[in-house]
Amino acid sequence: MQYMLLIYTNESAMAAAREKMGNEILPAYVAYTKAMQDSGVLVGGNRLRPTSSATTVRSVAGKNQVLNGPYAETKEQLGGYYLIDVPDLDAALSWASRCPGTQFGTIEVRPVWTDY
């Protein structure tokens, strides 16, 4: 069963904590990613650049418009994700609870449609 772990954090708070980011948070993510690899559950994952770099495309009155900025202005932003393959939801929740991101925000766990 594949699950996406979506990591939502407050990116301006994270940007302000630059020193902590380098010393503690990023190394914790590296270790977390490695542990997932070593366990053989990791399918993929990425850290996303801040929402200030986001561009959205949407159709307004049948015509595609390109807009600067994220899909929605929210207090916490999608900052990255992992795609994991584990036997069940409990296993996915167990990995989500280990994610360093829980300390600064929310991890959303979503099962992936695999039968098309």
Binding site: V30, A31, Y32, K34, S39, L89, P100
Partner: protein, 411 residues
């Protein structure tokens, strides 16, 4: 004012009587879910009528009468064989209680716990089931504590209750010949609840803190109902020892403090003394078991408070005895760490290497943390660095993670 007082009386009744009332009702119908519904209707009725009519002289008896009537009505509506029998039993009980008047409601919580921890119930749902039925905790609270999605925890609880009903799991205290095994399942469930509350990262989440207190309360209840079972006392002593060190696990800044560097003056003397007394009584019964041995290990750590030193030889001997009982790799890890305190890191590492083939340890943080610390002590820096990285990646608690990161940086 009056309304506040009434509300208080209802909350008190819920806290003190919920498990007792549910056990009494469910033991007669074997229908836990039905008893829960009837009881929650009785509490709703109390909320509606007590403010006007005043709190009855015996709130417990009042609630029981209302809940029992609800159950009888529900039974009449269903008209199946089992429910009809239950209805008759309930009706007879009611007659009896009317005749006998003031008699206390018998405490059947122990029977309920044995039903919840029955071998026919999946092991991982036993502790949640006990917390819900005996303590009255709701499924969402339990799910959050056990790190399970609320919907699936709710489902598991529903399925377990259906199983009790459909498979007719008995509400009884086992006979002596099967007591040891069956009691172990009850104690395991209580300890699982304690451990969930204990692993609460910040040590400050109110709900999870409550879980350790609820588990200790259950531990005391089992001891009071089965005073001749030393393992029940062993579990209570173990939980009291752990609870005594709760506040010492973090420093003023919220940083993780390992047991070895905790200041014993912060440990709670009252709990330690109670634990020692409970364990002493258990030991005098002359039947050693897993929980008594684990409590004895904690007792050896606690003696640092008075002697200033930890008796590692005694701890290794206790782990040897535990290992002979359980063969658990978790015990073996602890034993390796204790052994290293006496014979040095190489001996500890050799003991850990014997475990390396166990696949269960690949995702087990304490194994990697122990390994990392012994490798660091043995000056094997690059291997220690790798083990620390693995331990950090597997650790859910931010404070412990930071502690491990500091250790890793100090290599």
């Amino acid at each position: 004012m009056v309304a506040d007082k009434t509300r208080e009386a209802i909350e008190l009744a819920a806290r003190q009587s919920y498990g007792k009332l549910l056990a009494f009702l469910a033991a007669r119908t074997r229908d836990v879910a039905g008893a829960e519904d009837a009881l929650s209707e009785a509490f709703a009725a109390a909320l509606a009528t007590w403010p006007e009519q005043g709190v009855p002289r015996s709130p417990e008896a009042w609630l029981l009468t209302v809940a029992r009537r609800r159950l009888i009505d529900a039974g009449r509506r269903q008209r199946t064989q089992v429910d009809a029998t239950a209805t008759i039993l309930l009706a007879m009980d009611e007659l009896e209680s009317e005749r006998g008047a003031e008699g206390d409601i018998p405490d059947e919580r122990l029977r309920l716990m044995f039903a919840c921890a029955h071998p026919a119930i999946q092991p991982e749902v036993r502790a949640p089931l006990i917390l819900q039925t005996v303590m009255g905790l709701d499924a969402a609270t339990i799910a959050s504590a056990f790190l399970v999605a609320p919907a699936s925890m709710g489902q598991r609880l529903v399925r377990a209750k259906r199983k009790i009903h459909e498979a007719a799991i008995p509400f009884r205290v086992p006979e002596q010949d099967e007591m040891a095994e069956r009691l172990a399942a009850v104690l395991d469930a209580i300890y699982a609840a304690f451990a969930e509350g204990w692993s609460d990262p910040a040590g400050a989440v109110a709900r999870e803190r409550q879980l350790t207190e609820e588990a200790i309360w259950l531990g005391r209840l089992v001891v009071s109902l089965l005073p001749d079972e030393p393992e029940a006392r062993g579990l209570l002593a173990l939980m009291l020892h752990a609870e005594a060190r709760r506040d010492a696990r973090r420093d003023g800044a919220g940083a993780y403090v390992p047991l070895a560097t905790q200041d014993p003056r912060i440990w709670r003397t009252d709990l330690i003394e109670e634990a020692e007394e409970v364990l002493r009584i258990a030991g005098a019964m002359g039947r050693v078991g897993r929980f008594q041995l684990e409590a004895a290990v904690q007792s050896a750590h606690a003696s640092r408070r008075t002697t200033g030193q930890t008796d590692w030889a005694a701890i290794v001997a206790l782990y040897d005895a535990l290992l002979a009982l359980s063969g658990s790799p978790v015990v073996a890890i602890n034993r390796a760490v204790a052994l290293a305190e006496i014979e040095g890191p190489a001996a500890g590492l050799a003991a850990l290497n014997d475990l390396a083939a166990d696949a269960r340890l690949a995702d087990y943080q304490p194994y990697w943390a122990a390994r990392a610390s012994l490798l660091a002590a043995a000056q094997q820096k690059s291997a220690a660095d790798e083990a620390y990285e693995r331990a950090i990646g597997l650790e859910p608690d931010p404070a412990v993670r930071r502690f491990l990161q500091q250790r890793r940086a100090a290599l």
